[in-house]
Symmetry: C2
Subunit: 146 residues, 2 copies
């Protein structure tokens, strides 16, 4: 029989919400070296792995409005991490792709940024890691469905 004190969906949602806030606040300062904060790093990694894509597609993938993405891309471009390529088929759009430097910097920054987090994860037992791994998959589905 299950413990009646077990938190229900409401309490779990609050915990997830709170955990997300605190996790990001902790990781925020983790990579001051490269000047890549969470939004920029996230956008860059989508560009690196998602191949050339338009600004609108990138904004949609990152779930932000186009103007927001415009400025993130401008910052990445100013650092020479991303380049815009004209699209001859539709000249309203631009194709965003990562430069060599962009790919390298992304990998390094990402590594730096999640290093401490990975370290903590690595200290969990095998069984605990299995639990977290399973939960990540479930949470991604949850987020998707929001």
């Amino acid at each position: 029989m299950s413990n009646p004190r077990q938190p229900g969906p409401e309490a779990m949602a609050e915990s997830l919400h709170s955990a997300a806030i605190h996790l990001l606040r902790k990781l925020r300062r983790a990579d001051s070296a490269s000047g890549l904060n969470a939004p920029r790093l996230s956008a860059l990694s989508v560009i690196v792995f998602g191949g050339p894509l338009t600004l609108g597609q990138l904004a949609a993938a990152e779930q932000v409005r186009p103007p927001t993405m415009t400025r993130i891309v401008q910052a990445l471009e100013a650092k020479g991490l991303v380049k815009k390529v004209a699209n001859p088929e539709d000249r309203r759009t631009i194709h965003l792709s990562a430069t060599m430097k962009g790919k390298r910097v992304m990998v390094e920054a990402r590594e730096r940024r999640v290093r401490s987090l990975a370290k903590q994860v690595g200290q969990l037992s095998r069984e605990e890691q299995r639990t977290v791994r399973a939960a990540i998959g479930l949470m991604e589905g949850i987020i998707e469905g929001l």
Copy 2:
């Protein structure tokens, strides 16, 4: 034998990072009604549940610098959700406590804010919920240790 394709701590850390970003971005717009966004709601709930506490304690609890918390508290105070009470024992500090309105608004806003998330959680199977519940506990420990 474990599946060699299973993501290691590094990949799990990246997934957690990404999930936190996307979760908060989705929840951000969830409670435009009350004007309580994530940082304010989080701070208010600490005040409500954490009883009277000083600004510095609140900033520490929220893992933020005092100036940041000063402005969050000012906003909450302007809305009549929080009141400052002089501390006769140390007049440098202030004691923050929630007003009646603050308590009510917090409960309502929090409910609204996590409603869709709780709904998604509620749609998981019993076993899946158990997994997520266990993972939340582990993740809180991970965040603590960062």
